[in-house]
Symmetry: C2
Subunit: 440 residues, 2 copies
């Protein structure tokens, strides 16, 4: 009888080991997709695409190429040696080639080209194959690195990971931008955020986080909105001030930039990313930030209660020019524009103990302290014409006792897009959903 | 102007440090919820609940208790000292108490009791506060540990994390158990699995994984089904056999049990979990497993193409009794019962190169090799009366060339429930969704 013992196939070499020169002088077998093929008059250069990097293989005149083409899956055996002109600095002199599978048709787009030059719509339609292009796939490796950093930072601070439901009976953020669902004949919704649930968990775990999809039925199409996106959420108890949350986000950013520099250097280079300095992140009050940007860039303030995208852009520019920072925390947003669970500033209840983080002129995080006292929460609901009895399971925690707490949500695609210098957030989402796009 | 520097509040001690005796002899300030209060004739024992553990604080007669009750959020300052009779072996002699917040009403359920004795429905309705009970919250810490293990195992093997859309235009698993959604006037669905997307990514990243919600509109209510659950998915290219996937799952289980033993010992103990031996996991072919269980337990085979829950239970029992294993891979499921993308066994195409993993008599994983050749996939679709033109973006990858590949999906709640000895999978889901439950 067969038994599994957790033995991983080990007779094939990791491309990264080969490229680091760890296997020099040995005969190794490597596998990958054929990224590119160059016939140099008899000698063929086969560029093998591995999960993170490329390896140049040289196939001599004597070898049977077996009709190999780009996007064949192949296994190549040979001797690696240092070769400064090869991508990654190592070349493999092939002695055997095995074609494991072949494409049925040529690619609809030449993924081995440096720049694909597709328009956004074509690129998104062809995403399943466009991802094979190096720049495109690097974007989502960077994204994976950001998720790792978020988890590693929080795990070290004793946060517990949770999984909250996405099918819900009421929206946390209110408003009309919520998707409706038929749930066995009952009306249900797709969660706009894990807000209620992450707060519920603070009484049990003190500190929780979740990285998961959220859904917003926004009816406008902009380069900064997605109808489904990935939210990196945290919520924590026993805060002294909402600034504790900003410190933790700063810590996350510091860890993220260090991790990307150390472990994702190839992707950072492929995308030409300049990693921002996050040793210090300045803070500006909402009204102050608004005023400073309006004065410097001579743009009148139209909406005193919210930031228009152009204002965010100008605040980002101001902070870059005046303070040398690509990030800025904008604090104390007006109560009017923040949700019913936001805690008002006791010093001036027209404003809340809340913040957004802007990165290169765009909001990438919203956070703040929440109301933890039962009566205060009920009163604020009533003052907004809400019905507390509809929020029974949410208010259960306030009634049962909650520590002072708060949290934040980071938009993963926006953070990725700003970092990678992508103008449209759709470029930073593997398979974006927007007003007109449900496929692939 | 304020700036954030990533400084974490450090003037409060971590409960775990205090319990490990690291702060003995110092005056420390700790914070937490009041889990229990015992008046011992003047002296009061206040049991503080931290994120992972309890700390016994002794408040002398001279102290002003300020009307402190259970579920107050408090800060206690005092000297910790070793005390074998205290939970965790350390006691803090309090010198100052500060009440940070108070509940508005007593708890609807006494969370400090060892066993709550609630029926399932009441427990789920009160989940937001029931999670404050130690056993209940330990279940989801174990769950968080399983997720960590999955990620850590795969990260070490060069897997890339991905985020795939949950709003989709077609279901991957077919059938009627799919939720429908109004998407700006168009028909859309909630993803039953990330199957198509994870395969699409294999051509780019070779190895990918995702931990995310999936949705199944199952119309039956059983102790093993949820309408929304968390799936731990992986997909990898360049497999030699579907057994490579089973080896990787075994590796994950080995890492998980080691991690739980090392870092989640308190939760393992609280739940009385006996961690299974996963050094070797036996494999049985589907038809063989079926026959062996039928013969031993004298239960006739009714459905030759699938395993009934009772058969899974009996196979689990058989493997436990005869082979001493709590896990078993059941391989080579009939083609008829596997999805259209499953690769048939060339040696006998009535069966597939697929497997389920049973744990203590219940399926917790489904996996297998996929068809990677374009024509073979189109032919199988046609033979099932499907329309390949409806799967254009999926088939794009087969057309473009795909390595031999396969993957698996682990049901996180089922794995958690089996491990923790919970009879109903709802106990292993924070906020379960079933036919009648949409709240909390």
């Amino acid at each position: 009888m067969k038994t599994m013992t957790g033995a991983c196939p080990s007779d094939r070499a990791k491309l990264t080991d080969v490229l680091q020169g760890l296997r020099e002088g040995e005969s190794v077998t490597v596998e990958g997709m054929v990224h590119a093929l160059h016939d140099m008059g008899g000698i063929t250069f086969l560029i093998l695409r591995g999960p993170k990097s490329l390896l140049q293989c040289v196939l001599g005149q004597e070898m049977d190429l077996q009709g190999v083409t780009e996007e064949c899956a192949v296994s190549v055996t040979g001797f690696p040696r240092s070769e400064p002109r090869a991508p990654g600095g190592v070349e493999l002199t092939a002695q055997a080639l095995e074609v494991l599978s072949r494409p049925a048709a040529p690619l609809p787009v030449p993924v081995s080209k440096k720049r694909l030059g597709l328009n956004l719509d074509t690129e998104l339609s062809l995403r399943p194959v466009v991802l094979r292009a190096l720049r495109e796939r690097s974007v989502f490796r960077i994204q994976a690195g950001l998720c790792r950093s978020f988890r590693e930072t929080l795990h070290a601070l004793d946060f517990t990971e949770v999984h909250t439901p996405k099918i819900v009976h009421a929206g946390a953020e209110g408003g009309s931008n919520i998707f409706r669902l038929d749930y066995f004949g009952r009306k249900a919704f797709l969660a706009q955020s894990p807000q209620f649930y992450k707060q519920m968990m603070v009484g049990a775990y003190e500190r929780v986080f979740e990285i998961a999809p959220v859904f917003r039925a926004e009816k406008h199409s902009t380069p900064r909105h997605l109808n489904e996106y990935t939210s990196m959420d945290l919520e924590m108890g026993f805060i002294r001030s909402f600034e504790d949350l900003m410190e933790i986000e700063t810590l996350f950013l510091q860890h993220a930039m260090a991790l990307l520099k150390r472990e994702y250097a190839g992707d950072v280079k492929a995308l030409g990313i300049s990693l921002p300095d996050v040793s210090r992140v300045p803070c500006l009050r909402f009204d102050e930030a608004k005023r400073l940007a309006a004065e410097k860039y001579k743009r009148p303030i139209r909406d005193p209660y919210d930031l228009e995208p152009e204002e965010e852009f100008n605040i980002g520019r101001y902070v870059q020019e005046e303070l040398g920072s690509e990030f800025v925390f904008v604090t104390h947003y007006p109560s009017k524009k923040r949700p019913f669970y936001a805690m008002d500033d006791p010093a001036d209840p027209r404003f809340t103990l809340s913040f957004d983080l802007l990165f290169r002129g765009m909001e990438v995080t919203t956070g703040g302290q929440r109301i933890h006292q039962y009566q205060a929460q009920v009163d604020k609901m009533l003052s907004r014409g809400m019905h507390p009895e509809e929020f029974e399971s949410y208010l259960m925690i306030h009634k049962a006792g909650m520590p002072p707490h708060g949290g934040l949500g980071v938009g993963l695609e926006r953070l990725t897009a700003r970092l990678c210098g992508l103008e449209n957030v759709r470029h930073a989402c593997l398979f974006p959903r927007d007003l007109s796009r449900l496929e692939p």
